[in-house]
Symmetry: C2
Subunit: 112 residues, 2 copies
């Protein structure tokens, strides 16, 4: 696990990216996906993920529809039009930042 501060500012980008690829996902699914994709290195906590999804929904980036699996509720989130647009800007910014940071901290590594 990484020092928590590193994740800051990247969680939104991660969620946007996953939803851009998968069309609709529920919270727990996102959590499992991230854990899998990173070999357990990034483990989104409930207390981080659910508030983030709610905030992004409030900001108009996401929307959701509820489905019932038996008696259990599941909220499938998906990108809104706005979310699709802003995804591009978010990821661009993150990419640019990572390239810039690389220049300072790991000048020997070349990022395409």
């Amino acid at each position: 696990m990484y020092s928590k501060e590193l994740l800051k500012g990247t969680l939104t980008a991660i969620i946007l990216k996953l939803l851009a690829e998968n069309e609709k996902m529920y919270g727990y699914e996102i959590s499992l996906h991230v854990r899998e994709l990173t070999g357990g290195k990034i483990h989104l906590k409930d207390g981080s993920l659910y508030p983030a999804l709610q905030k992004m929904t409030a900001d108009g980036l996401l929307s959701f529809k509820e489905e019932y699996i038996g008696k259990r509720i599941r909220k499938y989130y998906y990108l809104t039009k706005k979310g699709q647009k802003e995804k591009i800007a978010y990821l661009e910014e993150l990419k640019d930042f990572m390239i810039t940071l690389n220049k300072i901290v790991f000048p020997q590594i070349k990022t395409a």
Copy 2:
């Protein structure tokens, strides 16, 4: 300029890296250096930099000695033994995190 949150968790690593390369630097010099290295894209604010330097000093990563340029004070910071050791861990973690993040968000980019 990047959305402020992105920088979180990276500032310490940036300072450690610069001081590892330059032996001793004062705050304003670090600020100018970062601005130059990033083409103005990362602009450390006074309110971020000076408290960070103080915290790192309190944590035993840095030490400083004051010099007077005319009447003006200058605090030259340098890495302590502890700072030299922890620099390695910090940068390793950051590097690992960036590679991991890349896998999720930019799977097409290969980081060495």
